[in-house]
Amino acid sequence: MIKKKINNYFSKRNCTLLGVGPMSVNCVDSVIELANEYNAPIILIASRRQIESEQFNGGYVNNWTTSQFANYVRNKDKGKNIILARDHGGPWQNNNEIEQKMSLDQAMKSAKNSFKSDIDAGFNVLHIDPSIDINGSVPKNKLIDRLFELYEYCWDYAKKSNKEIAFEVGTEEQSGSTNTPDDLNETLYLIEKFCKKNKIPFPTFVVIQTGTKVMETRNIGSFDSPLRVENEIAAEIQVPKMIEICKNFNVLMKEHNTDYLSDDSLMWHPRLGIHAANVAPEFGVAETVAFLQILENNNLCSLALKFIELSYNSKKWHKWMLPNSKASVREKAIISGHYIFSTPECVELKKEASLNLKKNGIDLDARLCEQIKKSIFRYMYNFRLTEIA
């Protein structure tokens, strides 16, 4: 069903589907509004840290559990344009599993429970990513075994529950290097063999390293770089080669970490044949930047400073920093802003800001959504999801 829906859309227009990370309630609302306004499918790609089942106490985005999030989206998405997707489901993809130092068996069981909630909540696409292991790097054959175990589990459970799901596979997230055509060929061949043997549908999407990597508020990968990036296959070679392999296996190619690419690079996505691309932190950053600007332009500088302090102290910016970064406290706070939107302190701060702004006739959330939508629309336009500029 979902595969058919996507293929139908591709048959009508040559485009790149957009996957958006649900960075905040405003971000989710913006996605739903844009998808329905332009009657274009948008995939909401929820990581386990962002949205998680009740047994894990939800995720950092609005503290939503999987079912709460799915219900919220389904109720608002009148045109049924939103595709709900789990992004990077798998063992140790949730902080609890890492903090509790779960064994492989425990982490696999935990991941299965998370997937079960996704299927129950009516998610359409499950990205199975077993690439993380807290005990160090794992040989490829072991990762493939874990992938197959989770794949089979999800398929069996969905079938029993009478739910339709599509799969996304692919690993090496943010590795900063490119996987080779031989690697991809081999992986897809093994998956094809497994699917045929077990009479399970082949994945709809495969994540391909195209030379995109997000650090701070930039994309530092080779895709957007006209110059060679050391030890990476030149994007001019990598991208068309990977697309060719995806075509051979009749699987849609999905790019991750597309944030901050230039308009020129984005515009070429549909023309090069990149079927889908994920963007996440850029939209969180867009909201945080807009939030600070609104506060500062309306004499609410003390609230802005308090937000910066809260966000900076969360240290959530840490994983995004370049080595020897010269980013200021403010810049770091902007990078981590969306992680703290749902903390009690920030909810309180935002409430106070909203009340003050209301006196000036300003609807804070409406203003924030305006900026997020602008940021998302750049992708929709360049990906040919709409032709209206």
Binding site: S177, T178, T180, P181, D182, P226, L227, R228, E230, N231, E232, I233, A234, E236, I237, Q238, P240, K241, D264, S265, M267, W268, R271, L272
Partner: protein, 274 residues
């Protein structure tokens, strides 16, 4: 009889150039004659192996860079009637570094084995492309970005300017001064004339960028960052003027279309396709 002419491009770095010359003479002297082009170098900074000293006011002021420099040197060989004595021309800048072993012999053997290769590039240990050359050491590519290229004479003869040849147009388009997209244009010309462009991991060549980083003033060029900025900016302007392309991806698709077509006409060579 030596089948290869090696051309080294120098600007004011005589020690570096002499070292490269001596390295090639030691390991590859049996395969190649070596020519050194001084691209507007100061009189007191000429390599002791200098063959030609391009020293017009314009060249002294701004140098020649790869495209104009190689056009200049190749044209000199042509004018001096040395052209026909070589089967290929190895074009390198003075910041190229090779391992302590033979470079040209393996490259010449590849040209002999692969009759359709017009452009042959050594790989670099810093390129991801080496991952594509693990099972087979030589493959045909649609994109090569390198300052060390071995060009087959027969290929050059199929594309070179013969009527009004000068250092701006003999092989490379010298109006693209810093040369962004130069290799891509050359590769497109190769495939469109039924020649292939290959990278081999049988030989590695490294570009020592430290000279550009640390000795920009001596080479009389802009700082590294400024040079990169101009390289990209001027290249994009050139691309738009000459081809009407607005993006590097247009050029990539243009070259790849010739590449794909090459294998339609030469299906027996598909095993060398990446």
């Amino acid at each position: 009889m030596k089948s290869i002419a090696t051309i080294i491009l120098n600007r004011n770095l005589p020690e570096v150039t002499d070292k490269l010359y001596e390295h090639l003479a030691k390991y590859d002297g049996a395969e190649t004659d070596i020519y050194v082009l001084e691209a507007g170098s100061d009189k007191d900074k000429l390599s002791k192996y200098c063959t030609w000293h391009a020293n017009s006011d314009e060249i002294i002021n701004q140098g020649l860079r790869y495209s104009r420099g190689m056009n200049y040197a190749l044209l000199q060989l042509y004018k001096e009637k040395k052209w026909k004595q070589y089967e290929g021309f190895f074009l390198i800048t003075n910041d190229t570094e090779f391992s302590n072993s033979k470079t040209l012999k393996p490259l010449v053997e590849i040209l002999q084995e692969h009759k359709k290769i017009g452009i042959l590039s050594p790989c670099s240990s810093r390129w991801g492309e080496k991952l594509l050359l693990q099972k087979e050491d030589t493959k045909y590519f649609w994109f090569i970005h390198n300052n060390a290229l071995l060009l087959r004479r027969a290929f050059i003869e199929s594309i070179m300017e013969t009527e009004k040849a000068d250092y701006l147009n003999f092989i490379f388009d010298g109006t693209n001064f810093r040369g962004y997209f130069s290799e891509s244009e050359l590769i497109a010309k190769a495939y469109s004339n039924n020649w292939a462009a290959a990278i081999t991991s049988k030989v590695f060549a490294e570009e020592n960028e430290s000279y550009l980083l640390k000795k920009a003033d001596l080479i009389k060029t802009e700082s590294y960052d400024e040079n990169i900025r101009l390289y990209l900016q001027e290249g994009l302007v050139w691309l738009k003027r000459k081809y009407g392309f607005n993006s590097r991806w247009s050029m990539q698709q243009y070259v790849k279309s010739f590449y794909d077509n090459f294998f339609n006409y030469n299906p027996e060579l598909k095993k060398y396709k990446i």
